[in-house]
Structures are given as C-alpha cells and as structure tokens.
Point group: C2
Chain length 406, copies 2
C-alpha cells in the first residue's frame, strides 16, 4: 500500500506512567507482521469510551459498552486482520475468551479488559490464534508507541499518533494516543479505532464527559466516505499517576487545561484518519457559519463533506462552487439561496446567491492545487457554525474498494 | 460520451392527441445540436408536478411551483446547457421572458407556460439566445419524441423515453414520457427532468395525487450518487382528448388503470436514469423487507444504495455482504444484527446474523458478473418493505466528475 501523500511523521509520544504497550503475532492473516496489541494499565486506571452509532455493532463493541459502565481498566487488547463482526455466538465467545485469559494473567476481573478488533467481517475470530498471540504478548518486552500504532493498523498506509500535555494542579499531565482507520470503514479491513492514554488522575464520569465533548468536535466531524463501521471505538485510559488532585468536575482547577489537551489529541488523531483516507490526495476543511444552529451547521457541513460531486471536484482541482450550493440545498436544513456566500481558501467566490462581481478564478485555482483545501459557507441566517474535515474522492478510492476481490 | 452499457433502445411512443413537440437551436453552448424543446399543449390541458427537495431551487422550479397551483398548461419549454440556477434576479427575469414570449405567441397567460432548464449552474440564462431559440421553435415542424428526448439531454449518453396505455371508461388512453439525467445532478451539466404526456381526461387534483403516488415509488426511489439537483422537476400534462369521462377521484372506474399506467411510465423513466448513471456498469435493485415500517425500509434501502463501499463492491463483482451489513447498521433505523438475512440475486448468503452454513460463493459470483444485480435484505422485524434502484460506483464516475475542469 503506497504511503498517503498526506501522511505526517509519527510524533515523539513520551512514556506515560502506568501504561505499557506490547505487540505480538497472532497470525490472524497470513502476513509477516505483528497483529495483536496488548497494553497493560496499572491498577487504579479509569476508562471512558465512545462507540459506533451502528445498529449492527461487533461483539467487541458490545463488550466494551458493558465494561465501560464499571469505569475501570487493567488492559487493552486489539486484534488486527479480523473484525469479528457479524459472527454470532462464536464471535462473542472469542471476546470472552480473550478477556478471561488476559484477566487470569493479570489477576483482575474480565470486565477490566477492553477488547477491539478490526479487519474481515463475518469470520469468527479464531480463539486458538488469539490465545497463542496473547501468550506471546504477555511475554513480550515493552513496545514503542509507533510499533503499537503500526500493529493496530490494517489498510492504513502510515502509523498515526498524537500527544499533548497540560498543567493540572501544578503537575504536568501527559496524553498520548494512537488511531487506525483509512475510511469510516473499508473493504474487508478497517474501522476507526482510537486509543488515548494519560497519567492524569480523573474520575470516570469526568473523563467520559471530557471524551464525549472532544469526540463531538473531532472524531464525529470527520468523514471519508460517509460509511460507518460496525466496530468504531475510541477509548481513553487514565492511570492517575501524574499525582494531580483528582479531576471530578468541569469547574475543578486544571479541568479546562486537561479537556483542551484531550481535545487537541483527539483532533490530531481524527485529522490523521482523514489524511489516510482511501485514495486521498487533498485534506479538506469545511467551515459552515451563519446557520440556523450549530447542529444545522454540522448537518450542512457533513452534506458538503460527503457529497461525491464536491469531493470529485476537489480531486479535479475544480472551483466548482455550484456543487457546494447543491450540497447545501440537499442537506434539508434552513438555507436561503439569495443569502448564501461561498469561499475557497478564504477567497469569496459567490455572495448573496450570485457569483461575485469580477470573479477571478486564478487565486482560487492556485489554492485548489495545494494539498490543504478550505471550503467556507456562510448561510447568512443566524449564529450556527461547525467545522468538519474530509478528503477528496479519487480513482484511488475506487481502486482500493472495487478493483479487488475478497 | 460513450453510450452507457446499460442503455435501452428508445421505444415507439405514439402520437398523443393535443401534444406537439418541437426542437430548435438556441445555442446555449457552442455545440452543434438542438438545445431548446418546445411542446405545445392544446387548450384544456391540465398539469401536475413534483419538484426538487433542494432548499436552493432554481428560478424555473420556483416558477413551475407557482404555475402548478393553477393547474393549467399550454406549453412546456426546456433549455439544455444552462441550468440558470443560482443566478439571482437575472435568472428570474430569463424565466419570465420565456414565459411571456411563449404566452404571447400562443395567446395565453404566462402562467400557462412551464419552463425547465438544465446545465451550467451560476450563469444567467442568456435571454437573447432563449428568445431567438423560441422564435425558431415556434416556426419549427413537429419533432419526434426521440428528437425531443435527445434535445432535453445534457451529459446523457442515450435518449430516454417510455410509454403505456390504459383502458379508461372504454377508451384507450395513451401515456408517453421522456426524461433526462445521468446523476441526481452532474458536473456543470445535468439534473433530472421528466415530462409525461397523456390524452386522458383528468382533474388536476386527481392528476397531482396520481403523480405524487407514482413519484414516491419511482423517481424518489432511485439514486446515482446521493446528490440532489437544484432543478429536479417532473411534470405530467393531460390534454383530455381521449374522450373518457373525466377522472376526478381514485375510486372512479378506470382510475386504477390510469394510475398503474402512469406508475409504469414513471418507473421505466426512473430506471432509465439509473441506467445512464455516470460511469454505471451495473443496474442494482435493492429490496428491503421485514423492516419496522415501509418508511424505515426505504431509509435502509437508500443507505445501501448510496453506500460508496457497497457500490464499489458491486463494481468489483465482489459478494461483500459485510458492506451491506455496514450500510444497514449505519442507517439508524431499527435493526437486529442477529435477525438479519442478506441475499444476492435471490441466493441467501447470510441468515440470522451469520454467513449461511456451507456458503457457496460460485452462484453468487455468477450473479454479480451480470448487468442486473439484486441485493435483498430481510430485517426479520415487521412488515415494512421498500425497493430502490441504483448503479455501481466506478472509475467512470470519477473520470466524468474529477478528470475534468469547468
């Protein structure tokens, strides 16, 4: 798989006290690479998570949802190469076996073990391979964050990580995260899985609220192809070893700093997924303002970001503002054609429902030749605003998803 | 433009009493073809219509909506090559000028004239070209239905028409229609415009109800790329010259036969649009049953039909039922993973949430090699059902929409 032209280098994520990643080879597919990630978490670790909106979630998602209620974690196990989705009782049994074996190894409850899988749909995860892989992982030395990021990947073309720090209660807390995904879901391989780790001391309820808020503006604001995986999962683990007074409420000192840093890591990770979008050659930011409400703005922004005609226009470096109008119109949200203005790269091309007087396409065309594209829409109605990110739709997407037999 | 591999030959549409098509060259683009269609309708013609759901409709759509309230028609004018959408007051003025000149020629009210345009967005329709084209059309001899179908087309790769008859009150009434469109909207050229003509005698309210019903199951159940034009319009004109007793109510004798024939023509026309879908190589029928309601079934069927991953899988002749599960799951409608069954070409591949015992891909693969693909989903919940039609997503779509500069 050719490295995405939009790839960024893997960042230097520091060690996070209480968190130790390991990788091993379970051999879920006949490939020469590690495909099982095992992250141990010291006692006292709390966890929060968000999972797919799909009505047909994988057994891993169902497992995590139940375990999240308890809010405690001792390990994360991630399988790459088999999503274990749509596999009935056998799939559920595989998740239970992984949690039981890991809990026995660590001397904790199975509900302390979080499991995620990504890859082929419809094939039960082979328990024997999972168990052999786990045994190898238990014995493996600590891995680097980049190795862990590589190991959770499937069709990803580059390892994706992000980090940030915040001062909380006079202590520096560190946040580091890894993510995989190169479509909202992809062929028979892929899903968005994101795992964030921090040494901050936080209560589970606070962490859940902070993640939900961060997710709303980051992972929930990206789209590659409008498709939604049965397995999408983002988990945040907090070991509490930074020594700060426990954050329990949004008004606690340092809570804002922590939430900002968590939001920053989630944003970086979300953008990296778009940058590895299947066939992507352009990273597109869509800003909508002047909408009836923020929710309305987001719906319109997503309508633009998911429009095949807008995405192919950007791929063709074509300042086709008519397609943006079309996407605004089809969103079904309040819009007044004759109040609408549209920008590419900050340059207004249409205002109040008409192309601007003396429109000069040259600077717009120059903007579209770059890799980072900005589409701006002002609806001229109220104060609602939203920003979402997507990539273009190219022959590469078709090649990855059609010129291929499972 | 290469003729779609899914094209069908143009049918023999009979003369419809009271309806006379003409074509002329307005020269909206520098091309060597007729691009203005002018259809005269005898006095006494009633009309019904449905228009785009877009919040940013063209001035033609706004014009037709107002004229439809009166329910009477004397002529239809269709401009190809310029959609006149997003053109402010100048666009509105062009529509008014066309209606006024045509009304003056026929000695009727401007509100008796229906206007539709398709093509470039954002460029006001040039009134001088429209007027010169109209004058030529007024003087032109009657054209064939196939000429009219060709003349309303833009990126269409073949002329599209359909016909049916019904016995109403002992008389044979004839229905004929033409349609254009090869995406829900396309580059800077295209929109779905459909025009149906009949000699049946009907009241406007009955005709509107019959069209709304037919539209719900036909034009509203097709999708090429999920994008919606600012100009989509379907109009039905009834001259009343068949001599039947006027149909005014759904319970009138012959009303069922008329509605069935109208539905048949609309279905044929809708399918032809899919068959000319940009880059299409497969005609896909999606049947959903066992859903919570018919509405829910339609939402799920559209989620499948609009999924880029499902559409690329079909393009790749890949029996990737996992992508169908994904599309069911993302629709947001009631679904139970473990009750779901999926068929390709009538062959069950997954049942109760699992791949079928002893699944043999060979007959499914053979089905997928054909041009007519059937995807079936049974949700196992209730009695809701829906059928929609779409096409595959191929390199051809990308080439048409991206490898092109406006």
């Amino acid at each position: 798989m050719t490295r995405s032209p939009l790839a960024l280098p893997f960042p230097a994520i520091p060690t996070i006290a209480g968190v130790t990643p390991h990788v091993a080879r379970a051999g879920y597919k006949p490939w020469d690479r590690a495909d099982l990630t095992f992250v141990t978490l010291d006692e006292g670790t709390v966890v929060a998570g968000v999972t797919t909106q799909s009505k047909c979630p994988s057994p891993e998602v169902e497992w995590c949802r139940k375990a999240l209620v308890l809010g405690r974690a001792r390990a994360l196990v991630v399988n790459a190469g088999n999503a274990n989705a749509f596999t009935g009782a056998r799939g559920r049994a595989a998740v239970e076996a992984i949690a039981a074996r890991t809990a026995a190894h660590l001397g904790c409850q199975p509900s302390d073990i979080f499991v995620a899988s990504t890859g082929v749909i419809g094939v039960p995860l082979p328990i024997d391979k999972a168990e052999a892989g786990l045994d190898a992982a238990f014995a493996a030395p600590a891995a680097s964050w980049e190795e862990a990021a590589d190991t959770i990947g499937t069709t990803d073309t580059f390892a994706k990580g992000a980090t940030a720090t915040a001062i909380v209660d006079g202590r520096t807390v560190t946040i580091g995260g890894i993510v995989k995904g190169s479509g909202m879901i992809a062929p028979d391989m892929a899903t968005m899985l994101g795992f964030v780790f921090t040494d901050a001391a936080v209560e589970p309820g606070f962490l859940q609220d902070a993640l939900a808020e961060a997710n709303r503006d980051t992972f929930s604001c990206i789209t590659v192809d409008s498709d939604t995986s049965t397995s999408d999962t983002v988990l945040v683990f907090a070991t509490g070893q930074a020594g700060n007074r426990v954050l329990g409420d949004a008004t606690d000192p340092g809570a804002d700093a922590f939430r900002a840093a968590l939001g920053d890591v989630c944003r970086q990770l979300a953008h990296l997924v778009v940058r590895d979008g299947e066939g992507a050659t352009k990273f597109i930011r869509v800003d909508v303002e002047g909408a009836d409400s923020d929710r309305s703005a987001r719906t319109i922004a997503m309508s633009i970001a998911n429009s095949p005609l807008v995405k192919t226009a950007i791929a063709g470096e074509d300042a086709n503002w008519g397609r943006v109008v079309m996407a605004v119109g089809k969103a079904g949200e309040p819009a007044e054609r004759d109040l609408l203005s549209i920008r590419f790269g900050g340059i207004e091309v249409a205002r109040e429902g008409l192309v601007v007087e003396g429109y000069d396409e040259a600077p717009v065309a120059a903007h579209l030749k770059g890799q980072e594209i900005e589409i701006g829409v002002n609806l001229g109605l109220h104060e609602g605003r939203a920003t979402v990110w997507t990539c273009d739709l190219t022959h590469g997407y078709i090649s990855i998803n059609a010129d291929y037999r499972s």
